[in-house]
């Protein structure tokens, strides 16, 4: 399956700053997800997005987080005011249908470091 590109690959930001992480899936992708992985910990679900709406979000995904697909292709995760504990790898994932024999395809990830 085609790759899912994420940009930037690494971002360092000051605490309190806003960051936008981008995912560039293929245009026929319908279902998008964001996951994060704090260093040394498990991969955690943040949010799922279908038909330009959030379909489910976890308790981690609080008011500081938002997602959108503004131009019909890029899928973005915005953190409004970053905290030290937001430092993690952020993975975008996508599927073309609700059920696939191959699970998600994960993007290459963005390492966010909040200082």
């Amino acid at each position: 399956e085609p790759e899912v590109t994420q940009t930037p690959s690494h971002q360092v930001t000051q605490m309190g700053q806003e960051v936008i992480l981008r995912c560039v899936p293929i245009s026929n992708h319908l279902y998008f997800y964001w996951y994060r992985q704090i260093l040394g910990q498990k991969v955690e679900f943040l949010v799922s997005f279908y038909n330009n709406e959030i379909s489910e979000k976890s308790e981690i995904f609080d008011d500081q987080f938002s997602v959108e697909r503004p131009d019909g292709s890029n899928f973005t995760l915005k953190i409004r005011s970053t905290k030290l504990e937001d430092s993690a790898m952020y993975f975008c994932a996508r599927t073309t249908t609700t059920f696939t024999n191959y699970g998600y395809t994960f993007g290459s990830g963005t390492r966010l470091t909040v200082v």
Binding site: K42, E56, F91
Partner: protein
């Protein structure tokens, strides 16, 4: 509360050994169980299991699911140093994944 538990947490073996990684789960609305290999960055897909008792194989890797006892195993035979990675088990619940903490496998030459 949904949970996915993997064991062991870490494992060190020598090349040529066979390893068995375990994943047990308690998840409502179970749809499938997936195994991923994570080396440096993004997890890469290994297997997706939906039915009990049907082994999936890919080269030296194989996996099976037991939906009655709520667990899965991942076997790797004739391990190689390139198998060194974190192996993640994830359960698909309503199209979101619940991940285990992973098993860190190190294969020594």
């Amino acid at each position: 509360e949904d949970k996915v538990v993997q064991s062991p947490l870490s494992l060190v073996v020598h090349e040529g050994d066979t390893v068995t990684l375990n994943c047990s789960y308690e998840v409502t609305n179970f749809r499938s169980l997936l195994w991923y290999k994570q080396e440096k960055k993004a997890p890469t897909f290994l297997f997706m299991l939906t039915s009990s008792g049907i082994e999936k194989k890919s080269g030296r890797l194989s996996s099976i699911l037991d939906k009655k006892e709520l667990f899965s195993i991942l076997n790797i035979t004739a391990t190689q140093t390139g198998d060194s990675a974190v192996y993640l088990c994830a359960v698909n619940r309503d199209y979101k994944y619940i991940f285990g903490t992973g098993t860190r496998l190190k294969v020594l030459a």
